[in-house]
Symmetry: C2
Subunit: 353 residues, 2 copies
């Protein structure tokens, strides 16, 4: 197995990416390839010291965090992320890991690697820590905005992803909304409700965010803007809680210091977000892992280990297989078309009785 | 001072609303008027017992939670919320409190009470509990979807609201987004960034949700769908945290029970959401307080007390005054028009050099 790592992607690139790759090397059996500015990367590797140095593939260009992804991948054909995706498409590597500009990773993956048949766009999938078995959320930010059909297809992706990774036959899928009634939310969400309801998925309907913690769903669907906001809000709140309880424990230390510390440590373990390191970009044909832009060396290493597990579990290949036996994606296109047709008929006054 | 309470609004109406009103009566000096089905309300009041009974104004109709607000307030002219808003408009009462269908409350307020001059729509404002001085968020759900100009006007509303309620001369206003760079987010958010940037507001730029906890802003702006999701997510997470630390403390009880309980109690106090009861609907000319649809008697009582404070502090009147001295709303209309014009010029090829 071979994993390509975009050495130029991320706020702390290339230093943190090289360090993370060297760190991952001692924990995984896959061959790692760093894609980026060769002299710079080799210099950083040499500084790193022990162990056989990972392979380096030169990339003459790099995409910055503030660039528009779809534009940048066309203007900078030799950007590290493009080279990595081409290697993935041609089978030279089995997975790509990047902490770079998300919109560029997504655009490059769509352009070079192809989507599963019938799909309009991929989505980022992340587990939501709730105390119990974490439900997955998608889209966590592959695309900021989502139309009706994108939300409906995300529901199908959630279904397939949960079947493959958890073995649940009919995972419970919810649509994130601000109320339980079908007419709630933005227009895209209202229409997606109708579409998903008609499908064969195990759809539990609208889910309000507080219900995520009540074990009523296995997967929840929302647009990337909202999903990303939820993730970052949870991170912020979790950190504030851990800080507050830490101060509380510190303030109360008397004869019971050991006891209090144990409570604090257990709490921290349960609720400080596990650094999974990255999110799989589901819906493309081959394994792509998107790491947080702020990733340090440990997060990069974790993302590489996640890529290795995802490849060896054949998650992306099995999702493609599931899709062949599952007609929901095609159904959504049919439902969507008839939905639009119905509305047009109503509007122009020749609605069927 | 007189406050009208929509007795028919909310999941637990009219029972919880009547009980909440009776509860509030012993804590406030305002006269309270219940608007709803007279025989039913009077029966519930009689059951309540002690104290002088509040006034009841009959309403022949009520708007249900699943109805579309703008449609329902036109179809049901004698709905309790419409009667309450008409009394507010005519100066018979000083404030309206409702836990009913949010879209109906907002539509009825816009229709009967009028908006501040230059404003397109009102917004719900809520404090976000972060440990320190809570920044305010708007819109918390008055309208699910927001266009560019709505977001920009919400920034101006946040500015005015914070000046009036906190006395901050130039409150720091942020735009909620999934990244710090100007090009991030949905199209409406990207364009709102440009608009707010050009205004005279103390605009700190895009704010990621985790930054809300870092005391970098006094107010944060987002569309109602996102704001409402954030609120409900925070509620859910807070409850999960409090549950988890409670279990942790319970599990560890040995010789230090008293000490552990003290830590737990303090933590709960600091992080269990204070039930403020309701959110002011800012941007209308007179005081409207929207309570949570799930409100019980205590939450209703708190919402009534909030209405009383808001009226006696003259928040809504002062906001109108501030706006007269503040040209940012008018500016946003001008900026928006020139922004559209610029884009058209670019599109049709006669952009100025």
């Amino acid at each position: 197995m071979k994993i390509a790592i975009d050495a130029m992607g991320g706020d702390n690139a290339p230093e943190a990416v090289v360090d993370g790759t060297l760190l991952a090397q001692s924990h995984c059996s896959a061959d790692l390839v760093l894609i980026g500015n060769e002299p710079v990367i080799s210099g950083l590797i040499a500084r790193g010291g022990a162990g056989p140095p990972p392979e380096v593939v030169h990339a003459a260009q790099a995409i910055e965090m503030e660039e528009s992804g779809p534009v940048a991948i066309r203007k900078k054909r030799d950007a590290s992320i493009n080279i990595a995706m081409r290697m993935l498409a041609e089978g030279e590597v089995d997975a790509v890991v990047s902490a770079g500009n998300t919109s560029a990773i997504v655009a490059s993956a769509k352009h070079h690697v192809e989507l599963l048949p019938g799909l309009r766009r991929p989505a980022l999938v992340v587990p939501l820590p709730t105390g119990g078995t974490p439900p997955v959320l998608l889209d966590a930010g592959a695309h900021a905005q989502a139309e009706t059909v994108h939300l409906a297809q995300s529901a199908a992706l959630a279904h397939i992803y949960l079947r493959v990774t958890r073995g649940t036959a009919r995972p419970r899928i919810g649509l994130l909304n601000i109320g339980s009634e079908p007419g709630k939310g933005t227009k895209a969400v209202q229409r997606a409700f109708v579409l998903i309801k008609r499908s064969g998925l195990n759809f539990v309907g609208n889910i309000e965010p507080n219900e995520i913690f009540q074990d009523v769903i296995d997967g929840v669907v929302c647009e990337g803007f909202v999903g990303n906001i939820i993730l970052k809000m949870s991170e912020g709140l979790a950190a504030a809680f851990v800080r507050a309880i830490g101060e509380e424990v510190g303030r109360n230390k008397t004869g019971c210091a050991g006891e209090l510390d144990r409570v604090y440590d257990n709490f921290k373990k349960a609720f400080h977000y596990k650094h999974v390191g990255g999110a799989p970009l589901v819906g493309v044909k081959k394994t792509v892992i998107v790491a947080h832009g702020r990733s340090g060396a440990t997060a990069i290493s974790n993302a590489i280990l996640l890529a290795e597990r995802t490849v060896s579990d054949e998650v992306f290949r099995k999702m493609g297989e599931e899709l062949e036996h599952d007609s929901s994606l095609a159904d959504f296109r049919y439902f969507y078309a008839s939905h639009i047709l119905e509305n047009l008929r109503k509007k122009w006054g020749f609605a069927p009785k």
